[in-house]
Amino acid sequence: MMMMMATGQEEKIETPPTFDYSAETAGETMSRRLFMGGMIGVFGAVMAAVAAGPLLSYLWPPKSTAIKIDKLVLGKVAEFPAGTSKNFKFGSIPALFIHSPDGSMHAFNATCSHLGCTVQYQQAKNNIYCACHGGTYDPATGNVVAGPPPEGLHKLLASVEAGEIVIRPEKAGAKA
């Protein structure tokens, strides 16, 4: 066949004799054609389902290894005078440390409860601000002051030990 086409010779294709399906299947509830069509459909669906599993698991991101820590030394107290702040990573959690103008120290999981942006401390306004949609939190409690966030920030513990600022999860071992 291929060779004949290559030499340019025409070949008359014989059409198979056609059956009158309606006559042949008269009285039956399902025609042969419908059955074959259905089978092909089912077969196709099964093949697609079989292929989908491996494909999805190939594309699926590998389990990320969240780094959990119990303690982090942020630095010497002298590096963070009252009124300053620092964004840092507590394990894999974005975190925020604030040394308030009144001298108290606070630390939070810096993930905004609205849509998960990382928040920052605004010294001039003494608040915690989320630049994404303008969410504002209280810098001492982490409670929502304004904007769209539905709940406050999760707290971390900030303490001074031997002249160094130490950050811990609020309850030892608890998820921050």
């Binding site: 699926w60 990320s64 925020l96 849509l115 942006c117 990382t118 989320c130 630049a131 949609h133 769209p148």
Partner: protein
């Protein structure tokens, strides 16, 4: 073919005949000369689709050129874009053309979409043309979103982070989808790989398919005529080939010149590099074509009736978008009241988009 006969023909005719014996060239030309474009006071909008096509070509060519020097890595992308901007001869031009082109492309798409909307070109038999068009503008927006990350400057990083997090807020499957898109729980190398391959491989392929369908359908149906034009006793037409195509070329030339002027006078900037533990920068904003959606999220209070504000915002955005999908079924042209309502809704939609985008631009 004998050499003697070949000598007798001129080369052009030979080429034409050779092709014509193998593909229906004559039929295609006949089709193009028979095709007519109505001439009326709204005819200018018929050129918008052609301008979209110009931008498709510009984006493909400049994108291909950028890929010669761009490095799709979390660590190296920023450096490579810096080099394209500063070191590689005419790199700044190619990059500016691609970035400006992406934005102007979407702007023209919006104009094309609303001009066909107001001309009611979505009505039968052109529903599929309209849907393929919606698919195309959707693809263009995904192009924009995935492309925005690639330079890996500060805004790119945070806009992507926020954009994907928004998807993560969708009820039930949101978090799964977000992780899938990011390739993990945070924006990183896996995200870059996914965005890069979507941007340079999957989307162009999908665009070609959708655009092919769009253009095929337009050939099948011919250009639509506004209602008032259909009722005129004397209608003016021009031939698609060569008249309309000729005008098209003038439009393409003019737009290209204007485009180059914009690009050269305002080369596209590159922001500072990223610090993943830094907070979202003040003034963070998505690209302008996502601003209206962004603004709805921003305006929504934390609680709305019994629902979380962010969910209500997403529902509003989804409902508004779906009116554009449903419009060919709602306004079929048989009911003049509905037709008028569709026009009013289009105006409201456009004004809302404009006002929200303007609000979004104000920090």
């Amino acid at each position: 073919m004998a050499f003697e006969t070949f000598k007798k023909m001129n080369l052009l005719k030979f080429g034409y005949d050779w092709l014509n014996q193998r593909v229906p060239l004559e039929a295609a030309i006949k089709f193009a000369t028979k095709k007519e474009v109505p001439v009326h006071k709204h005819s200018i909008w018929y050129y918008m689709g052609g301008i979209c096509m110009l931008f498709v070509v510009l984006q493909l060519v400049t994108g291909l050129l950028l890929m010669v020097h761009y490095v799709p890595s979390y660590e190296g992308a920023y450096q490579s874009v810096m080099a394209i901007n500063n070191k590689i001869p005419f790199g700044w031009l190619i990059r500016s053309m691609h970035s400006w082109g992406a934005n102007l492309f979407i702007a023209i798409l919006v104009i094309h979409m609303f001009s066909t909307y107001f001309m009611k070109a979505y009505r039968s038999p052109r529903e599929l043309t309209w849907f393929s068009g919606l698919g195309l503008i959707g693809l263009a927006m995904v192009f924009g979103f995935t492309g925005y990350l690639l330079p890996m400057d500060e805004m790119a990083f945070f806009a992507t982070k926020v954009g994907v997090d928004v998807a993560g807020e969708a009820p039930f499957i949101g978090e799964l989808v977000a992780n899938f898109v990011r390739g993990g729980e945070e924006v990183g190398q896996a995200t870059m790989n996914r965005f890069f391959l979507i941007h340079v491989c999957a989307l162009p392929a999908a665009l070609m398919g959708a655009l092919g369908l769009h253009l095929l359908l337009i050939q099948i149906h011919g250009i639509s005529e506004p209602e008032y034009f259909k009722k005129l006793s004397i209608k003016k037409y021009e031939k698609f080939f060569p008249d309309f195509i000729m005008n098209d070329m003038f439009v393409w030339g003019g737009v290209t010149l204007l485009f180059l002027a914009i690009v050269c006078l305002n080369p596209w900037p590159l922001g500072p590099t990223i610090d993943p533990s830094a907070p979202a920068p003040i003034g963070i904003k998505p690209e302008w074509y996502f601003l209206s959606q962004f603004q709805v999220l921003k305006l929504m209070p934390s609680q709305f009736l019994f629902f979380e504000g962010a969910h209500v915002a997403m529902a509003i955005i989804g409902a508004a978008a779906s009116t554009m999908v449903l419009i060919p079924f709602l306004d079929t042209g048989k009911n003049p009241t509905i037709s008028k309502l569709a026009t009013i809704w289009g105006v409201v939609f456009l004004i809302a988009l404009g006002v929200l985008t303007y609000m979004g631009l104000q920090v």
